[in-house]
Symmetry: D2
């Protein structure tokens, strides 16, 4: 029986992880859920969808006793907070999956430039594994510290990677235009998350400075084996969940839409959670709502010699908690799809 | 292996049933899916959330061959169409769960008065079982023909029944004010289902003439052992899924909110899918989204001596496809909760 | 030139008032806008829809200098705060329209029972005028202090009043079931206003204790000349703006839907902002979106002898800022419809 | 008194035009509204927001009698239908503003290639004026036939034009990624406009083949005096109204965000309906909801040497009916802003 402890379990990523885990068929147990805000309250009174599933309470974090309670820690806390916990937890011999950005980047300078904080455990940055199974499946299996990917990067990388790999696109031409629901901003109330500000509204934010940019660049650069810079523009659209990333890439050789789709199909043929849509069909966020799937599709605009590649995910599913379950499955020898073969909710 | 055939599987009720069934742990098989509109097309091209789950195709209905293909037929066709199939299917020795209203009412005259069509198999109206496990669990187990309840009635009956049963409310005082998402209207495009007409909009419809009224009345009358009439007003609110029914009942004796909640708790203590919310907490549709749960809660307004009882369901879940799975489980000896212990999707 | 000062102009009621006033054809001037939060910032940077309309800045409130700046003060501050300003402002000889609840109720005990605060200027409670032109048009013209009605009460009173007046409904039978958008909660971020909590969600709140209840009761009691108690249940539905109130009343004599509609038509025939919908047509919030209209309609449920009366308003329009403009027009001798003949925004 | 006839007045563009016109201060009259679907019905029963504004009825179209009824015809019919009417109407000596695409393109071959229909009055294509006042104000004043711009092109052209004009962007680098509400698809029910398919959903459509592409290209090419091709990807997001277009352009010289904003400011300084947002502020659709404004803003991504320029419009306002009013004002010598100085509706 694998005992899982979730630090910060009352946020959206944490609670979505609970929603996945209560249906996980494997020998695992939700042994500990901490929450700063709700310590002492029953989980299912805070998260009413889980009523009848979890009768235990959120606890306060006692970091020193983690090893007595759990085998694996899932950190669902903000960046900077995560790195204040990680070294101590690893020192207890525990494995970690970290939702935060603190160990996604390999390069401390890049981290500090984009996050404007000092990194306090830079040596772990190179030993951590970027938790994208479609890239690092084998490393994840044995990793001590898995850095769960960001939601936008998951969509952007999965959309672009096959073409970067095939070398048919100009590496300086990549533009990622993403449309996201608001749940990525977390449950904390703000002007930004106010219903009245999001309903009937569409706006871009953090253009050129969004912190997911270096993550996309790091991974696509690794695929290309040369440095890539991307223009990344996130937008908020009136949805709670879902990201659609539209990725524009200049072609350096001619290719038909059919052949480009075939590149997708070949690239992802063994991937259980990347679904390649047939020619003429485009990804839509609703098809992956609440699931761990990433749907990819594309169109070649021959007139302007560009690939328009798209990926749709649920930012809380494949973009967060679903990916954590997939990583946990790999790390503990469960079937990779355990607890995750759940279709999106349509309509 | 139980072989299930779904007639009209591409509609919202049918497709939601598929979404539940692909995760059912029991020995059952989706052996046949028919669709008038999509016959010949792959199920997962029509229903993109199911991509990777079902590679078979929708077929045209060949009613005479059903017995060679399936053990049970789920009818997901409109009222009137259902009764044109049911006798033939039963004659083949097959069992049926019928989504439609054709066999919910026991009284043919009532049916004809509200539905404005002649009933062509009135004798079956008395042998069919109303598929509300919370009322007819044992009958459902052995039923040949189960009439799956309407979505509004499920919510209204579950909210009101315990108090009608306890005899503490005036039977002529019941008012049901329901708020529903648009998916109850089905996938067929109409002015009514146009996004621009539903978004930012709230309106009542079919006041005094909605066909779910006699269904609510029949069941509450049976509970009370005397005839009950209710005022029922359905409203459309800007959601795809979900019904919240607010039920007003005049008290004939004083009772506190706590004691009224205790009546709920006692009444539903063994029910796996009715969750009684604690005093001071009210049902919300989002907590049951995509699930088979019905959350009930209430407040006593002592000043006006009324109970304000509320029930929240997903109209496609407990209000349709989830209830079908629950009924199938009962009919075929699966665990009643098989395939249904799925939390609602929040946020 | 009438100089208007708005205290608390950056909230939803205040900013909607600005939206109405920039198109008012009368000789009036927005002479002062205060905001605690945004003092010193340009109005049109805080309220980007008003860019190009107002280049002035929000100011801090200097209550003693109001008389030097304005002729009329509109108070758009919460209850309790309002009563801390009103006596001083009146003492400066200025007239007031107060968005808050502090002077809507005539009875201090009732106020204190529902609002749980002491009222510090009870004598003004009897001299203030309830700002519902459909009831108190003449008094408003000459009033020093107009208490602008609550949003829910406006809808409930306008829906029920004609039938209470005609004496055809049982006075102890009135139930008001209201569905509201979230903007009534104001711009302050909270768990309640978080997009993810409101989207795809419907829930009741404050059952039996909502502070608009005594306001509805006061006005309907005045119409009936005897005390009336109502059950009032507000609900949140996924909209930014709009209230639909469904009012149930037991008939004490038989009446057809047509005749009941005729009562509406006669009652409101000279009202510029109450639109009676023809038989068979029901009010919808979208038809009044952004406007000062209240649409009313009804259905008689003969089977249960009840009137189901409905009113739709924009809670920020006729339910708040539109009503203020209507009151200002009356108080200063403008045409009552000046600045308000604006249709709702459909689709 | 200018008499306006609207052909196809019950659609979204037509009805929005009515909403603008009922508040127009000029000497103009809505003399005729035709509707194929609703001929014979009162306008305000079909369009309930207009109740109390228009008591006349929709009529059937009698094209030969137009000259006896009106001075100007606004065509709110689909492309291809428009060109079947235009020559006859012009022959009666009437002026026309055409909502459709039939006379927007100058080149018949281009039209036929993108619209897949033969153009039956190609000679008029060169005499018609593209109704974008920001480009062709003077020509519009005297035009007989004004082709009202498409909604996407309006946003894309206004966002990109100043930089194309200044010659600081690579002309082969322009990518337009647009996010639109569903009202652009019109009121006709379809799978695409079904609430359940649009809510919580985001999807691209018509990539590389959307008919607004040649319109964007024609106008930007004219500005640049050399042929330009753009990649244009429209997306549907869950809104009724609003378009946000994000336009990516490769810089051919370095420029700061501040200086790029200054280019906007200078370019649009005399434009009454283009509002340039200050550095660090981005356009949002809600700020222009229901209005004739186009908000533009930008960010320079220095790392990748791209301008990310954005424009927000209401597709039914500045993207359709608002632009028609602006054009009518120019054509008939009204003040250009008459009837249009209405702020967007926030929240």
């Amino acid at each position: 029986m694998i005992k899982i402890g979730i630090i910060g379990a009352s946020g959206y990523s944490g609670s979505e992880l609970l929603r996945f885990l209560v249906n996980h068929p494997g020998k695992l147990e939700i042994a500990l859920c901490t929450s700063e805000t709700y310590a002492g309250q029953r989980i299912d009174s805070v998260l009413p969808n889980l009523r009848g599933f979890l009768s235990s309470k959120f606890e306060a974090l006692d970091i020193d006793s983690l090893k007595d309670r759990v085998d694996i820690v899932v950190l669902a806390v903000p960046h900077k907070v995560a790195m204040s916990f990680v070294p101590q937890i690893l020192a207890q011999g525990l494995r970690i999956v970290d939702f935060s950005a603190d160990y996604r980047l390999e390069d401390a300078e890049t981290y500090e430039a984009w996050y404007h904080v000092d990194h306090t455990s830079t040596s772990l940055m190179s030993t951590s594994v970027y938790g994208l199974p479609e890239r690092y499946r084998d490393c994840i299996r044995s990793a001590q510290l898995v850095a769960n990917p960001g939601c936008y990067p998951t969509s952007a990388i999965l959309a672009a990677m096959p073409f970067v790999k095939h070398g048919i696109v100009a590496l300086d031409s990549i533009i990622v235009d993403s449309k996201s629901g608001i749940s990525g901003a977390g449950p904390k109330p703000s002007e930004n998350t106010h219903y009245a500000n999001r309903e009937s509204n569409c706006i871009a934010y953090n253009i050129g400075v969004h912190r997911h940019t270096p993550e996309i660049e790091q991974e696509l650069s690794a695929v290309a084996s040369e440095p890539i810079r991307v223009t990344f523009t996130p937008h908020l659209v009136p949805m709670t969940r879902g990201i659609l990333s539209t990725v524009y890439m200049q072609l350096i050789e001619e290719i038909s839409t059919e052949d480009a789709v075939a590149i997708y199909t070949n690239f992802y043929e063994n991937e259980p959670f990347v679904r390649v849509l047939p020619t003429g069909t485009y990804p839509q966020t609703k098809a992956v709502l609440g699931s761990n799937y990433c749907d990819v599709g594309l169109e070649v605009d021959a007139r302007t010699r560009r690939i328009v590649a798209m990926a749709a995910i649920d930012n809380l599913g494949k973009g967060a908690a679903g990916a954590v379950v997939q990583n946990l499955n790999l790390m503990f020898g469960f079937k990779e799809t355990d607890g995750l073969k759940v279709p999106g909710m349509m309509p």
